[in-house]
């Protein structure tokens, strides 16, 4: 039985707006990431992917608030921990997070080495400059980054290089779990492939034990992760292995996502793209029943009559949230 590194159980979180309207961005999400496995989260913009990432680190800074559920990180329950403590004790050393525009977070007035020193001193003030330099050199070499990057300013680096540097720095303290939130969305296809290769290398060489990969690009997820969860309007609508979800999607929304894929393969031009019509529901007042009902082409009256639709388990971790099938 492999060890479960990240175990999120029925987690709900909300955003509290200025006018005290609660937006339930993550609604009863359960997920498990085992040691040596990677999990992908797919979904369109605004479906709560990034909020889920913040929530499962226990990073509750206003306007994000915790509602219910449990998060276990490597057997330790971090649900009730103070976010400030989490930031100092857990982030970086136990779990690491690469936000969407991570490469813009590099300080333009500091060299990369100073940035690495700051990161390490924040967690271990006793580290000497020499130790840090040796560690940085060793890591950069292993991850295929030239040593000269350490002495450069961020403006001297290309986008792909900046992103790879940020990833290398984010795992320098040896976190067990890495959450990568759209690490390649601002890059061109060539740099994207390098970033992905780096993440896969990190997993294979054991620097990180498990990875959560968030993106809207299904072909990318399919090639990188072991399991995929599809998210819609704050809920998980389908989960399974990468092959199952991409090649044989069950939920109408996952099917819709598959219909809008563009890959340079023969015969794709003749194929008509099927975009999902409409827009996702407003989470201030989510519709009862199936949240996808308004955009679904297989909709029947029952879809909206039932108050909540539960995940239907098919065994082996495969599940979907639909009453139709």
């Amino acid at each position: 039985m492999p060890k479960v590194l990240l175990d999120v159980n029925e987690l709900s979180t909300k955003y509290v707006t200025r006018f005290h309207e609660d937006v339930y961005a993550v609604d009863r999400v359960s997920l498990k990431v085992e040691e040596g496995k990677s999990l992908g989260i797919a979904g369109e913009s605004g479906c709560g992917k990034s909020t889920l990432a913040l929530s499962m680190m226990g990073y509750y800074f206003p306007p994000l608030h915790y509602v219910s559920g449990d998060i276990c990180l490597d057997g330790k329950n971090i649900t009730k921990m103070d976010p400030d403590v989490i930031r100092r004790k857990i982030l970086g050393t136990e779990i690491s997070y690469i936000p969407q525009s991570a490469m813009n977070a590099l300080n333009p007035t500091q060299k990369i080495l100073n940035f690495i020193q700051d990161v390490i001193w924040a967690h271990n003030p006793k580290a000497t400059k020499e130790e840090i330099l040796n560690l940085a050199k060793e890591r950069f070499k292993l991850l295929g980054l030239p040593e000269s990057v350490l002495y450069k300013y961020p403006v001297e680096l290309s986008g792909g290089m900046k992103q790879r540097t940020v990833i290398a720095v984010s795992v320098i303290l040896g976190p067990k779990v890495l959450i990568a939130d759209e690490p390649s969305s601002a890059l061109d296809v060539t740099s994207q492939k390098m970033v992905i290769k780096m993440l896969v290398d990190l997993m294979q060489s054991g620097f990180i034990k498990a990875m959560v990969f968030i993106t809207h690009e299904l072909p990318l997820l399919y090639n990188v992760v072991d399991d995929i969860m599809v998210m819609y309007a704050g809920q998980i609508v389908e989960k399974g292995t990468a092959d199952e979800v991409v090649l044989d999607p069950l939920h109408p929304y996952s099917r819709g996502l598959m219909g809008s894929l563009i890959v340079p393969e023969e015969g794709m031009r003749e194929q008509k793209l099927i975009a999902i019509p409409g827009a996702p529901p407003n989470l201030k007042d989510p519709p009862s029943g199936c949240r996808f009902a308004a955009r679904c082409k297989y909709v029947i009256p029952q879809c909206t009559k039932i108050h909540t639709i539960d995940m239907q388990e098919l065994g082996n971790g495969r599940a979907y949230r639909c009453i139709f099938y």
Binding site: E44, S45, G46, G144, L145, P146, S158, G159, G160, M161, R164, S185, A186, L187, D188, V189, T190, S191, Q192, K193, M194, I196, K197, M198, V200, H216, E217, L218, P219, L220, Y222, N223, V246, L247, G256, L257, G259, S260, L261, I262, V263, P264, E265, E266, M268, R269, L273, I274, A275, I276, P277, A279
Partner: protein
Amino acid sequence: MDNGSGSCLKCVELTKVYGMGRTKTLAVDHVSLEIHNKEIVSIVGESGSGKTTLAKLLLGLTEPTEGEIYFLGKKRDISTHKKRLEYWKNIQAIFQDPYSSFNIFRKIDDVLLDCINMRDGKNTPREEKIRMMSEACSFVNMKFEELTNKYPFELSGGQMQRLMIARVFLLKPKILIADEPTSMIDACSRATILDMLLKLNAEEGTTLIFITHDIGLAYYLSQTVYIMKKGRIVESGTAEEVILHPKEAYTKRLISDVPKIREEWDLSTVVYSTE
């Protein structure tokens, strides 16, 4: 001129050099291409290959260092502000970042109203203007009633990009340059936007120049594909020729870098760049 085959935009030996002396960068290096009426052309290349500079040159936003641009068979003249405005009635662009494409202080109706006024519609009665605006909004599957009195930042990225297309629909330019219009948009809205660009080409006869780094999108949209590398055009031809039977190693790499589903995506061949 609208016979469907005439030359719409042509550039000969176009060159743009940024900087001078030791920091001189050849962004666009003697590029010659001819774009026909109602054609869909894609320009594909990695970041830093000069795609956007080429678009800026074609749009007249920067002056070329060398070379000529011919528009509708005549040499392009944008020496005065008036001539430049006249040129921009014929050529319009959609840029990468929808969030910074709009004036944040102006409401959406004003943005669309400006387009009508720019197309000599100043004296059109108000009802007619509203009809035109709602027609443009329905072209991009949006409701004009829901957009009135809203500011651009109240919309999502995909909606903003569709609003850009609605602007183009009202302006009815001959040429539309779309510079990575979908790179900041999620995969779901991307299909919608690409289909709208195709519809614009089919219904309005707009010549489309599509700039992207994702060769899959180029294959889906375009008839002709130009591959750019370090400011030069290294390969060109019809989409089938270039993408299904590439000749250059660079083109092959661009194709292999796109993640695929039915074919294997090989990560072991990746060489880390040192730049």
